[in-house]
């Protein structure tokens, strides 16, 4: 029950302020708790938040951000884009070829189920520990969720729209561009979102195992050398990185899929 907006009552909080407060009080309380508790009861593994933040400012703004975070991000984005393009292309093709898709399905399901971590050693042996290994690992890991979601999305294009395309003799190029891909895009974005978390995990894992720089390597080597506050600062960076990437993704998604949101809220409202 939100109070109605009353611009002339200073005692009541305006609706907008109230909305913001509701969303931020918990995070603020949690961080505050962390601060107080870690200062009161410091331990080796849980240093005071104050110190972690001090180190964070020292290290990551902006020196290590450049030397460690940036390479990780570059590899991440490269691998992700590769996997994305390959997944959408192949997924669209398979989605439009039901017989081929059906024949490939068990094999695809099996290969997809190989946990990225398990094939990491293979990649290390084949490609060493440099950027090539990381980019390829991420590309492969990103590829699968997108592939499967693209296949699903393309296959479930509204049959009526397919009839429309056929009856108006719309050529293949236009069909793909204006009908198939837009219709499949909500599903593809869903896969892309999963792929994003996979990519983040893989970049961290590959750097932890591989060495040779990157944010994951930083955290791991800090742990190994018992530089705990540094390690925590790195973990915070990882959390922030994940959050920022996700937020950017969501912004992009809300722009591209604005039509979809509009349509589904309308449907939910009308109960159709």
């Amino acid at each position: 029950m939100v109070a109605p907006f009353r611009p002339h009552s200073p005692m009541r909080l305006s609706r907008r302020t109230r909305a913001v407060l509701v969303e931020v009080w918990l995070p603020i309380v949690l961080v505050g708790l962390w601060w107080v508790l870690s200062a009161r009861y410091p331990s080796i593994y849980s240093p005071p938040l104050q110190e972690i933040l001090r180190l964070f400012r020292e290290l990551w703004l902006f020196e290590h951000a450049r030397t460690d975070l940036l390479p990780s991000l570059v590899n991440l984005v490269l691998g992700y884009l590769l996997g994305l393009i390959a997944g959408v292309a192949l997924g669209t093709w398979l989605g439009l070829s039901p017989r081929l898709n059906r024949a490939l399905w068990p094999t695809l399901e099996f290969v997809r189920a190989i946990p990225g971590v398990a094939i990491l050693p293979v990649f290390v042996i084949l490609l060493g520990v440099g950027p090539a290994m990381k980019v390829s690992l991420i590309a492969v890991g990103t590829f699968w969720p997108i592939l499967l979601n693209a296949i699903d999305g393309v296959r479930s294009v509204e049959p009526t729209l397919r009839d429309v395309a056929a009856s108006f003799r719309i050529p293949l190029k236009h069909r793909l561009l204006h009908i198939v891909l837009p219709a499949a895009s909500p599903q593809i974005f869903s896969g892309a979102r999963i792929s994003l978390s996979v990519a983040v995990i893989l970049i961290v894992v590959s750097e932890m195992v591989g060495g040779n720089g990157g944010i994951g390597y930083f955290v791991r080597s800090a742990e190994r050398s018992f530089a705990i506050p540094e390690m925590w600062s790195g973990i915070i960076v990882l959390g922030l990185m994940g959050y920022v990437l996700n937020t950017l993704f969501r912004l992009l998604e809300s722009r591209v899929l604005a039509w979809h949101r509009g349509m589904t809220t309308r449907t939910q409202r009308d109960g159709r």
Partner: protein
């Protein structure tokens, strides 16, 4: 009620059937053919040295080694360790996330409060915490379980919150107008409404759980598949390494398949499971 749809929640419930159960022998033959072709390709890639034999084992030795391993007790122990971590972690996650998530989802205030926190924490890659957990708990089952809980809590929580917000308002009115007691409302309205979404979250979480279990074993050294994989890698025993990779894949497929079957069994009434999508 639906305007603040919780981000990242999955709306569709059961995955579509990939194809109607092999319409005829032809489909089966096609699928087997593709699988065999892949194996053949793998074999040729190694035999012709298109991939370095230092990195890739040939399929036959790998499969042979896998066969041998299947007969050893050690293999099954290793498998058991992985599955133990997987199961316990998942169970704890579910037991925490579902009641908590539903409770949060039913209250507008709580969902608004929790949104940012959950949004943020879910993006922290659980492997980032691996070093911390490893320090605190060493290469043990507890370490794996903790890692898994941290990783799987968020998807389950999000799905449960979303589920609670999707309870059909018409059904809620029905329950209210017939003055159903609280226990009955939970049993006959809340739980069945929430079940499909929770089931989807569970399926996702099960896959993530396996991934984290293996990651914890491989990087952290806790006993299990990942560790066995790592030691095979260290000793340069490629066929064994690949045998374990294949094991991990089979496990993943089996778990996913198992959950899909379970979902269809328990949720036979839900429209997404009832109707077969176009195929």
């Amino acid at each position: 009620m639906t305007s603040r749809v919780f981000p990242f929640a999955r709306a569709s419930v059961a995955p579509p059937r990939p194809s109607r159960r092999a319409t005829g022998m032809l489909a089966l033959v096609g699928q087997a053919g593709v699988a065999l072709a892949c194996l053949l390709l793998w074999h040729l890639l190694v035999a012709w040295q298109w991939v370095p034999s230092s990195g890739v084992a040939a399929p036959l030795p790998a499969l042979a080694r896998w066969g041998e391993l299947l007969l050893t007790a050690a293999y099954w122990q290793v498998l058991g360790h992985t599955l133990a971590g997987w199961f316990i972690g998942l169970a704890i996650s579910v037991l925490i996330a579902v009641p908590l998530g539903v409770a949060i989802g039913l209250s507008r205030f709580l969902s608004d409060s929790a949104r940012f926190t959950i949004d943020f924490l879910r993006t922290v890659p659980p492997v980032a915490l691996l070093p911390v957990v490893l320090l605190l708990l060493g290469p043990t089952l507890t370490m794996k379980v903790t890692l898994i809980v941290v990783g799987t809590l968020w998807p389950m929580l999000i799905q449960s919150i979303y589920a609670a917000s999707q309870i059909d308002p018409v059904l809620r009115d029905v329950a209210q107008s017939f003055r159903l007691p609280r226990g009955h409302r939970i049993r006959f309205l809340l739980l069945p409404s929430v079940a499909p979404f929770v089931a989807t979250g569970l399926r996702i979480a099960a896959t993530v759980s396996l991934l984290l279990s293996v990651a914890g074993e491989y990087i952290g050294g806790a006993p299990g598949l990942g560790a066995a994989l790592g030691s095979a890698e260290q000793s340069g025993n490629l066929p064994e390494m690949y045998a374990y990779i294949l094991t991990a894949a089979t496990l993943g497929v089996a778990i996913n398949f198992g959950f899909i079957v379970l979902q269809r069994q328990l949720l036979w009434w839900h429209p997404s499971v009832r109707t077969a999508p176009c195929g």
